[in-house]
């Protein structure tokens, strides 16, 4: 009995917090409407996903693999990104490149986005600047896990 009363008390507390934010914000917005300058401003939200904010230049979004001039991946399969990745979500298989100056190229490169925590360590670790997280794609939700497995083709696009 007392416990369920406590539940209602928490509900009321929560509504009061919401109400307080509403009143405070309305107050500052109204002041602004009348041209009165205050130190504090009313909070503004945007209507995501219809409206989108510009991403900061140092943001981290979906990974991409960069290409050489001959359109082959820059990646040399050193697996340093695999090593550093704290979520263990990168898997690379290497193959022998006929060009002795390249030697190693990735025959498989998989990022399991369902595990990725967007830390950006893979980008930092790469000695070849072969992987970047600057695609600007941040709405990556999918309805199946399989769709979150990004392979070489998807990452090179």
């Amino acid at each position: 009995m007392i416990r369920s009363l406590g539940y209602f008390w928490e509900l009321i507390k929560g509504s009061l917090i919401t109400a307080r934010h509403f009143v405070v914000n309305m107050w500052f917005h109204t002041l602004k409407l009348f041209g009165i300058k205050t130190k504090r401003r009313g909070a503004v939200t945007i209507q995501y996903p219809e409206q989108k904010k510009a991403l900061a230049s140092r943001h981290r979004s979906l990974q991409r693999l960069l290409k050489r001039q001959d359109l082959k991946p820059r990646c040399v399969s050193c697996m340093l990104c695999v090593t550093v990745c704290p979520s263990e979500c990168i898997y690379v298989e290497a193959a022998e490149d006929p060009d002795p100056d390249i030697q190693k190229y990735p025959s498989t490169f998989i990022i399991d986005l369902s595990r990725c925590c967007f830390c950006g360590f893979c980008v930092e670790a790469c000695p070849e600047d072969a992987i970047r997280m600057d695609t600007g794609k941040i709405d990556l939700a999918q309805s199946t896990r399989q769709d979150l497995i990004y392979d070489l083709d998807k990452l090179l696009k």
Binding site: C78, M79, V82, T83, P100, K104, D112, R115, E128
Partner: protein
Amino acid sequence: MESAGMKIVIDDRPVEVEEGTTILQAAKQAGLHIPHLCFHPAFVPEGSCRICLVEIEGLPKLELACATAVRDGMKISTQSPRVREARRGVLEFLMADHPLDCPICDKAGECKLQDYYQEYGLFEGAFKEAKEKRDKIIKIAEKLILDRERCILCTRCVRFLSEITKTQELGVFRRGIHSEISTYEDAPVQNNYSGNLVDLCPVGAITDTEFRFKTRTWFLAQSESICPLCSRGCNIYVDYHPGFTRIPGTAKIYRIRARENLEVNGRWICDFGRYGFPSLEKDRGDKILWKKEGRDTIMSWEKILSLLAEKLRPRHRTKNTSNIAVVANTWMTNEELFLFKKIFKDDLGLKKIFFADPRPGSGDGFLLQAERTPNARAAKEMGLELNPVNLDDLSKNTDVLIIFGPFLADLHDPSSLKNDLDKIRTKVLVSSHRSGLESYVDFILPASGILEKTGSLTNRDGLVQKFSAVCPPCGDSRPEWSVLIELAKELRINAGYYSRLTQPEVILKEMGKEIAFFR
């Protein structure tokens, strides 16, 4: 000769060593590591890399630790500023033409050059000249690739081939900065020990195609094990990758390396063993099957063992076991052979006990033995006779047959095998690998592969060597020792005895009590 020791002091540590010991070995005895690249304990010192320089009190110049014998009363310093400075200089010269391919070099992570650079180098390269270009992919053997840019000309590979295998396929050609390792007139390195060059090379100049580019060394878990492919019992390291979540098939064994044991294999293993391991992972059976009226039914261990026990128990009770036959093999560990003997020979009193082992190959006069099974000696020491399978004897008046191991399939041609096995009512196969025998039997019990088991093996010289599991068992498989114990429990023979034997170590101890050889 008097064995009076030489008293020396290395870095303020007094040690007493025998006459003729080199400074490097003396330091090792004192627990100090002196960096070395060209020195290898198995070969005569070469003194070509110069990284092992140490300072000796009273001598004006630094001396090579690998090639200088100690003298009584010597005072040696291995870490003085002069020594460290000299090592830095040596490293700078070694790396002057070194490509620093570390990100794509298979040695990275266990490369001595990397280690020593971390410890003594850490310089900014002062060379302005461009690095010399050399050939990077030279096939020097069926499975070996030489990278001349990475080679530091320590000549370990050359000395191995001239001192150990005595085949001398590699040499140093040309002079000065143009020196390079090469085969003679393109005749490849061709001997059964070529894989050791990969372990030996202190840098990533020699790589083998089996491991090249497959993974990075720091991902691998290294386990100590015993090579099961011949009766020598060479000590090995097995490097295993536990795999990536959600990417199937990534857990696997990547390579086998030699482990030092001077009593057995020295510091080497043969290529037959080193490159034979993929066959241990291929064609594995992983399901417990009962082929009931031609239909495969997947079973649990409890069910299938009680089913088998039901078939054997009445025969045991009426002491009418003459129509049971068993086929063992000597890939089974000491513990398993012991349990096998206890249950089938001693308790059930079977007469028809046979062995089916891989066909002998040919030995090479060094490590590889003709006997291609790891544990034949143990069976002999236990008093088991290694009777080869004679299909007529096997099938005559036999009602129940239990086969351990897949090897029977290779020893007899399929039609006669089928013919004779068809005469037997109940046939059970306990095997780690698929071999074709599956189609002739009724019950299939998957056994763990030898690298998935813990136990011990007895090599041809009678040395009992313990080993533990490298990776988890494949699928539903279980090691034979646990299958045998469970079977014995189901049969209710000697219940108190078998329920005590819970682990391979316990079984080995029990063996020691009963058979003097295993004490």
